[in-house]
Amino acid sequence: MELSLAIQNRRSVRAFRAEPIALDQLKALILEAAIWAPSGGNAQTWRFGLITRPDLIGKIKMISPGLLSQPAAVIVICQDMEEARRKGSDLAVNALSWMDTAMAAQNLMLAAHAAGIGTCAIASFHAKAVQKILDLPERIVPQLLVSLGYPSQSPKPPSRRTEVLWLNEYAESGS
């Protein structure tokens, strides 16, 4: 799939078919797409929990209001905050790790879309509860969930603001 098409046609999918996704395909989204995102200072302090067990997805769903429908899998994008602090101090903990997570998620979601898999990035969840459910060490902090499944609906494209660009000299309404 052409990159610009993938970027413009990807949608946040919140309704999935009850159909599993091959494990190799899910792993490839992480190992061939997510981890190739830019990483501040090349720290790569991200960690990716690939959750396919329905009982665990069910528990995560209970404390994740943004996680809708029944996805085939959930990828829990975490950061090792001790490693982030060691490598990049407060800047890494407060900013760079979040940016890395977001960029990895976008790579992952575009690769998924190109493979016909729907995704939704979810920030509406309780991080400490997810840590507890997945038995994560305290330093491994979930920052974003990505739900995955084969779409049962094609969401219509939301409008996009275009008055967000300026050329050289700042102007409020840009062009």
């Binding site: 209970m62 309780h126 939301p158």
Partner: protein, 97 residues
Amino acid sequence: MNTPNQDLEKRFYELVCYMVTSARNLVTETKLYGPFRLVDSASRLVEILPQMGVDSIRLQSIRRQIDDGKYTVMEDESTFSSYLESLVMALVKSMDE
């Protein structure tokens, strides 16, 4: 195998988890997610009723209307507000049914 009561308890438990976690997260979340979570909770509540032997055409109708339009929250505030307004009016209309 779970008994019907255990199944029902599980569904209510999931709903309570959703509502309580929503309350916690809404302290800092996008403002419009508040009304979204409320109507979505209403939908989830109505969805459980048949399992309790409650058969209500008007409640199932409002659930369908909720589910048909709830994601307008992702479009813009005025569209979402109009949708919420239409839900209230639909409830008023079905009050005497």
